[in-house]
C-alpha cells in the first residue's frame, strides 16, 4: 500500500501499478541462447571461409596428406562422451547430489582437456612438418576454424573449473545452478559445432 501512496504524491514516477514479476536471472537462459546463436553465426562465417579457401593448397599438402582420421575419431569420441557426462552432472544437479555432480563435472573437464591435448598435438605436428597456417589458404582457413572451436573448448574448461570452485564454496544455490545450465548449453553447443568440423573439414577433406 505504501507504494501506491508514493505514486499518488510524486507524479513524476512512472511505472506499472503492478510491476511485472521478473525473478532474478529469469531471462538469463534466453539471453544466453541468443549469445550462442550469435556465436553460431561466427562459426557459419568461418565455415564459409573454409568452403571458399579449402581448395587453395598453393601447391602444398592437401587434407588427404595431412589429416589422420584415427586421431579425429578419438577427439570426436572424447567430445561426445564429455557431452553425456555433462548431462549426468546436470541430472545430479537437479537431484541435489552435489558430490556426484562435482565428480561428473571433473570427468567432463578431463575429457575436455584430453580433446585439447589431442588437438594441440595435431596442430604442433602440422606446424612441425611445415603445414602451418601460413603455408596455404586452405591451412589458414583450417587453423582459424578449428582453432576457434578449440579456443571455445579451452574457455569452456576454464569456466567449468571456475564453477566447480564456486559450487564447492557456495553450494548448489540458485545462481550457481543457473550458471551451470548456461555452461551446459555452451558445452553441448560446442559439440554441435564439432559435428560440422569433423564432417566438412576432416571427413569430406580426406574424401576428395
Amino acid at each position: 500500500m505504501s507504494t501506491t501512496a508514493d505514486v499518488a504524491t510524486d507524479d513524476t514516477v512512472f511505472h506499472y501499478e503492478e510491476e511485472p514479476h521478473h525473478p532474478e536471472g529469469g531471462s538469463t537462459m534466453l539471453g544466453f541462447w541468443i549469445y550462442l546463436m550469435s556465436d553460431c553465426l561466427i562459426f557459419a562465417i568461418l565455415f564459409a571461409t573454409f568452403g571458399v579457401l579449402g581448395g587453395n593448397y598453393a601447391a602444398g599438402p592437401g587434407p588427404a596428406d595431412l589429416f589422420e582420421l584415427e586421431l579425429i575419431a578419438i577427439n570426436t569420441s572424447l567430445l561426445l562422451v564429455s557431452s553425456i557426462t555433462f548431462g549426468f552432472a546436470m541430472l545430479a544437479m537437479v537431484g541435489g547430489r552435489q558430490a556426484t555432480m562435482q565428480i561428473w563435472l571433473a570427468v567432463t573437464g578431463l575429457l575436455g582437456l584430453g580433446f585439447l591435448g589431442v588437438e594441440l598435438y595435431e596442430f604442433h605436428h602440422l606446424i612441425h612438418i611445415g603445414a602451418g597456417p601460413q603455408r596455404s589458404g586452405f591451412l589458414s582457413a583450417f587453423f582459424v576454424l578449428v582453432g576457434t572451436h578449440g579456443l571455445h573448448v579451452f574457455f569452456g574448461t576454464i569456466w567449468l573449473v571456475t564453477l566447480m570452485v564456486q559450487v564447492q564454496k557456495r553450494g548448489l544455490v540458485e545462481a550457481n545452478q543457473r550458471r551451470l545450465m548456461c555452461l551446459s548449453m555452451f558445452w553441448h553447443f560446442l559439440d554441435v559445432i564439432w559435428i560440422g568440423v569433423f564432417t566438412f573439414v576432416y571427413l569430406l577433406g580426406v574424401l576428395q
Partner: protein
C-alpha cells in the same frame, strides 16, 4: 472462474509453464533422454567415419552426400536430446532465435560460396593471362 474457463486451453497450460520457467527447469532432460541421445549420436558419428576410413562405397560423391546427411541428422539429435530444444520453451523465443539464425546462416554460407565460386571461375589467374 468464468474467464479462465473461456480460454481454457491457455489457462491450463500457463501456470505449469511459468512455474517451470522460474527455475529454468524443463531444460534438464532425463537420464533416458541423455542415453538415447548418446547412443544415437555415437551411431551417427561411427557410420560416417567408417564410410570414409574404409570406403565401402566406390563413389566419393555418394559417400559425401551420405556423410553430410548423417551430420544433419546428428545435429538435430543433439539439439533435441542434449540442448533440449523445443518450440515451446521460453514462450517460443529460443526456437524463433534458432530459426532466424538458421536463415541468416543459410544466406551467409550459400551466398559466400556462390559468389566466390563465380569469382574464381570468371577471373583468370594472372599467369594464364600472360600466356595469351
Amino acid at each position: 472462474m468464468s474467464p479462465a474457463h473461456l480460454d481454457g486451453l491457455d489457462e491450463t497450460e500457463a501456470p505449469d509453464h511459468d512455474g517451470h520457467h522460474d527455475h529454468g527447469s524443463g531444460a534438464h532432460g532425463s537420464l533416458r533422454g541423455y542415453l538415447t541421445g548418446f547412443v544415437l549420436a555415437a551411431i551417427l558419428t561411427a557410420i560416417p567415419f567408417w564410410l570414409v576410413m574404409d570406403r565401402p562405397l566406390d563413389s566419393a560423391q555418394a559417400t559425401a552426400f551420405i556423410v553430410v546427411g548423417f551430420a544433419v541428422v546428428q545435429i538435430v539429435v543433439h539439439m533435441i536430446f542434449f540442448l533440449h530444444m523445443d518450440p515451446r520453451s521460453e514462450g517460443g523465443w529460443t526456437f524463433m532465435a534458432l530459426i532466424f539464425t538458421f536463415i541468416i546462416l543459410v544466406i551467409a554460407v550459400s551466398g559466400t560460396l556462390w559468389v566466390m565460386y563465380h569469382m574464381n571461375t570468371n577471373m583468370m589467374p594472372t599467369h594464364e593471362m600472360d600466356a595469351l
